[in-house]
Structure formats: structure tokens, C-alpha cells
Amino acid sequence: MKKFLTSTVAASALALMLGMASARAEDAVDPNAKQGGAITVTYKDDVATLDPAIGYDWQNWSMIKSLFDGLMDYEPGTTNLKPDLAESYEIAPDGKTFTFKLRHGVKFHNGREMTADDVKYTIDRVTNPKTQSPGAGFFGSIKGYDDVAAGKTEGLSGITVVDPYTVKFELTRPDATFLHVMAINFSHVVPKEEVEKYGADFGKHPVGTGAFKLAEWTLGQRIVFERNPDYWHKGLPHLDKITFEIGQEPIVALLRLQKGEIDIPGDGIPPAKFQEVMADPEQKARVVVGGQLHTGYVTMNTTMAPFDNVKVRQAVNMAINKDRIVQLINNRAVPANQPLPPSMPGYDKAFKGYPHDVAKAKALLAEAGHPDGFETQLFAMNTDPNPRIAQAIQQDLAAVGIKASIQSLAQANVIAAGGDKAGAPMIWSGGMAWIADFPDPSNFYGPILGCAGAVPGGWNWSWYCNKDLDAKAAEADSVVDPAKAGERDKMWSAIYDKIMADAPWAPVFNEQRFTMKSARMGGADNLYVDPVHIPINYDNVYVNDVQ
């Protein structure tokens, strides 16, 4: 096999070495961190499962990351990839073969050493239709995926166990996102014997290689994590114990935080209390603000008149007063002008987007043959603040002559309407909006703006399908060389700029994260708004009141 390093030697070798170096530097543990102590985190909703192949809720996402590890991970508090259970990796020059060398001596919570067989078993399991994994599609570029998905065979032909510490992935196409795919929860390594022992209930009896192990799970009440003393990453985790209390309303959680009974309200600060908290300097000091890989947008169904006319869609973009909407939600967001959020690689800082310009919007509508506007429907999810935001959009549209009636429905019903080609002319995405699965610009395209998502039951609610852009996206994702990441990001920026010219969406805002913590919590601020660990990075935070 020709190795990546043979051709573009200097540049990529340097990049790879730099990557390793920075990974090693990050591995150094916070010198101020104190060892020990316990924290309490609250959630309103029950935790569904802790099986990494299944869990896809925002509250179990981060829990699973603390129980399991993947071949790749991110430096804490950042979106920078680093090898995790892998010690190193090599990418073939054609971008279609990834070879990972595994760390030695990594043990599962049951004491057995993790090997390359476990990695293969894990990916075979997650792609097996019987597992019903919502993440199976992420592995679509691995050879043999189609046969496995169709149920013709079990086990991906593209994964080879070279030796106990080496695993090789062969892909059907170059896939620049593959290292990210090796870092998402769905590829976190599970031990075969435990999965077989518990069957469908593995999610209630999780066994991984992670920093914590499950100590107790009382259904509907409490989940307790205990420090894994044999964790391969020396010095981590800092905490001895994390208790997740389930079924707590956010408002009750906040009251308990104020009384010092809990440390992290997992569902955040309830909107009704937000201003009160931020007006109190003592409480405000314990709120960490950070970006989020999220964009809230209005979709316009490009297959339905009058939104099949690009001028109408551009007019809507100009009609919406984003600043006012951001104020409406107490400035818990920043106005957006493109699909990608600012903290995502590929975000185009130079892009100005559509200004709020009522006169211009009216002119565009007149050009499109609607000088007096038209009537339409705006779908929105029925939980606060979404109906209020929909009303603000309704008023903005009325100012240019578009009379939109609001359809305020339960989440599942709005999603169903969006996935029906004749279902919804406009949808405000709030409460269902896209949050990236991994920090890569491609993740905002395929399912929500690409042709693949414009299918019945899909998430491309604009039904926007531009074959030319699909080809460009495939081209960008074939740039696998890490040294060319900047170039690839530029290709993606160009794709999103073109999308904004076609205006299937009116991007409205990017939500900010506000994580509140108790006074005893320690660790860098970015651990509390970690882009991939929501709400917080449990492995790296610590408490200050232990000896």
C-alpha cells in the first residue's frame, strides 16, 4: 500500500507531526485540577439509553462520551481532532484507505484489553440493520456498507483487522470526514461479550473504555457514574463521581442550583429566569457563554409557488429583522447570514448576506409578479420561544405584503410536514434546527440542503436540490489530505455562498450556549461550552472544594 507520506512528503508529514504534537500537548492534564469530589447534574427528560450505537439525544450524547472512547476525539473544549484510542493513523494518498494503530493496554470496564477485533465488531454492529442505529448512515463510505444495509450480509468487507493493534478501513470514495466519523459516538468501541450478554438492554448496562463507569441506574430517577481507576488516560477523570438526577424541571433545577444543592442544570437556564440571572452579578459570574454549532433558519419550499421563484426567497431574506428576533430571545443568539455557524470551519467571515431592507424586498416581490404580496403558511414548533419568534417573522413578512398564517404544532408534526413535498411552504426551524453531528462544514449540507435530504421524510425542508452543488460537495469531501484542510474549507464556503444566492433558507440566528455552574466547579471555561460535549466535558472538569 502506498502511504500518504510518500508523495506530498514535506507538507503532510509536517501537518501530521504537528497534529500529533498538539495532541500530546493537550494530553497534559490541567495542573490546577484537583482530584476527587462528586457533582450533581440535573435533567428534565429521562435518559433513553447509554448504548453508543443508539444514543442520539443531547443529554446522553456527552454521558456516552464519558463511558466510551473512539479511535479519534477532539482536544477538550475545541473542535480540533486528535487520536484517542488510536495512537496514530495513516491515510493512503488516494484518500480511500485509513489505517489506525491502536494504543496498547487500554482496558474495558470489565478488565479485558481492547483490541482491533473490538473496533471491527463495533462498526459491524452499528451498521447492522438489526441494531437499528440512527447513526448507521455515517459509515456509508466504508466498502461493503450497501450490502450490509440491505441485509445481504453481516460485517463490512472494508474493515480488516491487520493485527491486534492495527485496523484498516477501505472506503469506496475518498472521505474527508472519515476521521470525524471515527470520533462520533456511534463508532465508540464496545466489547462484544457484554453486548451479547445484555442484548437489546446493553444500553442500560453500558461497558466501555471510558473515563467513568456506570455505578447505578434507577429508572426515571438517577444515574450515577463512578471514576474508572484504570482509565488509560493518566490523570483523568478528575471527579470521583457524577450523579445525574432525572425528571427535574429546568426552573426547579435553577432554584436548587441557587440553594447549592446541584452543580450543573443540564437543561440550562430557563428562558423566564434568564434576565433575572444575568442581572445578578454573583450568578452571572457563574454563567459561561460559548458558541454552538447551531443555525436557526426559515425554510422556503422551493418546489411550491411562489417560493419556486428565487426573487421571492431573496425578498423573504431581506424582510426578516434578525436583530429584533435576537432581542426577543434575550440576546441568547447572534444574527446569522449563512447556513454555517461562526464556530464551524468553512464559515465565510467576509460574506455579508442579505441586509434587512423592506423597500428592496418589496421591489423584489414586485419583480416576481407579487406587487401586493401573497398568502402563505409558516409552520413552527409549539414550545416557547418558537411561537413568539414565528409571530415576529409573521409581522416582518406582513410589512412587505406577505400574509403568513402560523401553524403552531408539536415537533413531530412539523418534522412530518417538512418531510412532505406538499406539506409546508415555510418552516421556522426553532426547536428542531440543525446542530452539527461533528464539526465539519459538510455536516450542514447533505441531509438539510443536498439532494439526498430532499426526499419524503427527509430533513431538506426547502426541497432544494442543486445537482451542480452536490457534485462540488463530493469534490470537496474527496480532499482528504489534512494539509489541504484550508483549501477544502474554502471549497465549502463557496458552496454555501452559492446556496445563499439561491436562498432556499433565510438564516436567522446562531444560538449561543449559556452553561450555569455552581461556585465550586473548576476548570477552563471552554470545558463548560465544549462544542462536542453538551452541556459540559465531564472528563476534564473538577471541583475546587476537595483536599
Binding site: D45, Q132, A149, G247, Q248, A410, D437, G457
Partner: protein, 306 residues
Amino acid sequence: MIPYLGRRVMQSLLILLGVSLITFALLYLLPADPVRQIAGRSATPQTVENIRRQLGLDQPFVVQYWHYLMSLLSGDLGRSYIQRSEVTELIVSRLPASLLLMVGAILCELLIGLTMGLIAAVKRGTTTDQTLMVASFVGVSAPQFVVGLLLLYVFAVRLGWFPIGGYGTWRHLVLPSLTMGILGAGWYARMMRSSMIDVLRQDYVRTARAKGLARGAILFRHALPNAILPVVAMIGIDIGIFMGGIVVVESVFGWPGIGQLAWQAIQRVDIPIIMGVTLVSAFAIVLGNLLADIVAPFIDPRIKLR
């Protein structure tokens, strides 16, 4: 008695069958696709179809309902789509908490409601009576969500007498029971008042008074036992109101019962759980009514079961 019981049990089973059919049909007609919920937003069409086939959701309605009924007969409520656990296990694990809350709530409503009704009846027509009846009216009409948060704020946050939500000790039980109980207490106060007033008008009470019996003796030994009977017989019927209330109250107080389970399942369209909780609640209500009817003749000999 036996033929009556047989007939009532048959009726109850028919009601449960009806409830299951209506709920199943409503959930089937819901314009939300449960498979999409399970498959997640990044799933390929192939994954979606695989899951639909495995869950049997590609079958026609009648076949799906038949399968559900058959597994129901063997005591299997199915497997949750979202939580990926047996529904029976989820309900059983949460049932003790709901039953405990029910006992607490019934104690509260009887204690508060009967006392208020009794006082109002004795003081009929006075300001005390009017105040109590207004209070009971407020209790009946106040949304439990508001009452719960109000009690929580005053007694847990401000005064610190009770914990702010949660489950475990008797102190956790007080505020949710009270929240549930205040609604029922309003009803009981009104019923107790009218029942007591009826009894106080009876000849035997007048006779007792004429014999010169002490006021307390007349009230507690002669009037109360007769007035209380029709009221207590209501407890069985009360379960229906109770089942509605636990959804809200359990959510406010973080009480890990089946109401909270139902609320979360509804939000996530977790159909097997919604079905399971609905059937268990319907069963409880039907059972409560049946018991109320069976117990009635023992409490009041004038009632005959036919």
C-alpha cells in the same frame, strides 16, 4: 351479586378494549412517523425502511392492532421506541411512586376536604361558610401547574421546610400530595357540605337534638357517619381525576411516576409507552369505578346491586 359482578367485569373489559382501539387508532393516524424518530435525522432511506420492517410498522393497521392485542394478552406491552426498554419494566419501575403519591393525595384531599365541608355545613350561611366555599372553588379551578410552583416557591424555596422536588423521604411527598390534594379537596368540601346539610335536616338528627344530646355528639356520632358515606364512595371515581393530575404534578416536582413517563413519551411520540400508560390508567379508572360500585352497598345498605 355474582351475575352483577360478571356483567360489570365484562363491561369493564369492553371499555378497556375500546380504549385500546381508540388510542391505537389515534396514534396510528398521528401525522408523525415514529420510524423517523427512531432512525434519527441522519439516517438513510434504507435504514428507515429496515427499521419500519423490523417493527412491523409497514403492516396494515388491522394487522398491527391484532399483533398488539395478542402480545397484550400475554402481558407484553411492547418495547419503547425511544427508551429502548420493555414498557412493562418502565411502568412497573414507576408505579410505586405514583401509588405513593395517590395515597398521599387521597389523605390530603380527605383531610382538607372533609374538614372544610364539615365546618361549612355547620356554619351554613355565615361568612365562614362563604369563605370556605370560595376557597374550595379556587382549589377546584386553580391549575395544578400553578399551585405546584406556588407551593414549591413558598414552602421549599422561601421557608425551606421541604426539599425542592425529588423523591425519597416523606418530606418529598408532602408538597406534591398537597398539590394533588387541593384539587380533590375542593370537590370533597362541596360534596361533604351538601351531604352534611342533608343529614342535618333529617328527623333523627332533630330527635337527637330534642333529646338534649351535646352538639359534638350529634355531629360526630350521628350525622358524620351518615354524611360521609356517599362522599367516601367517590374515592374510586376520583382515580380518573387523579390520573389526569399526575401528569402535571409529577413533572413539576420531578416525581418519578408514570405521569412523568407519559409526559415525556408524548413529547417524543414514543407510541408503545403512550399506549401502555393509557391502558394502565384506563385499567385503574375502570377498577376504581368497579370497586366503588361493589363497596357502595356495604357502606350504604339502601343501595342494592342488580
